[in-house]
Symmetry: C2
Subunit: 100 residues, 2 copies
């Protein structure tokens, strides 16, 4: 059993970075929004009711962490979710925490 604990503690290094990313409200919501499909920065900003510059900062953060990719179209930039785990995790957490 003590061995089982040690194994779990080692694994935590792979799980905690995910928690650090999604423990920020804005970042978590961005992931939820993009989980429904690609969006422009302006659309995300509008849905969140947040400052554009702050949304942009968090988008960059999420992109650097490997959760998002982006493409430019004229003056607008579209972001999309590239993480394979997030949709599954969200689905699973909704089921457990919200009983849905």
């Amino acid at each position: 059993m003590q061995q089982k604990i040690k194994t779990t503690l080692k694994e935590s290094d792979k799980i905690i970075p995910f928690f650090k990313i999604v423990s920020n409200t804005t970042r978590f919501k961005i992931l939820c929004i993009l989980n429904e499909g690609e969006k422009r920065v302006g659309e995300i900003q509008e849905l969140l009711g947040a400052k554009q510059s702050y949304v942009s900062q968090q988008l960059r953060h999420l992109k650097n962490a490997g959760y998002l990719s982006s493409r430019r179209e004229g003056t607008q930039i579209y972001y999309q979710l590239i993480d394979k785990n997030f949709p599954e995790i969200l689905k699973s957490l909704r089921k457990i925490i919200l009983k849905k």
Copy 2:
């Protein structure tokens, strides 16, 4: 679809507090340790290799948030997990993130 996003954004208030708790390495590890069964503060401290006072602070934090309960036995205090969701969430995340 836009409606679906709004629903998810509202729900996030119920999910994010969990992330804030477990995004701290010490707190997450404490939950993992206690997931295997009740433990004394000293045992937890030893498994983590952390300062006793810091472990104690995080135990209080987790207790205040409703994740733990405690009982005294002589000079020692035993903590145990009372959250029903955590074990299930951990199991689920291990499966998704670690493919186990």
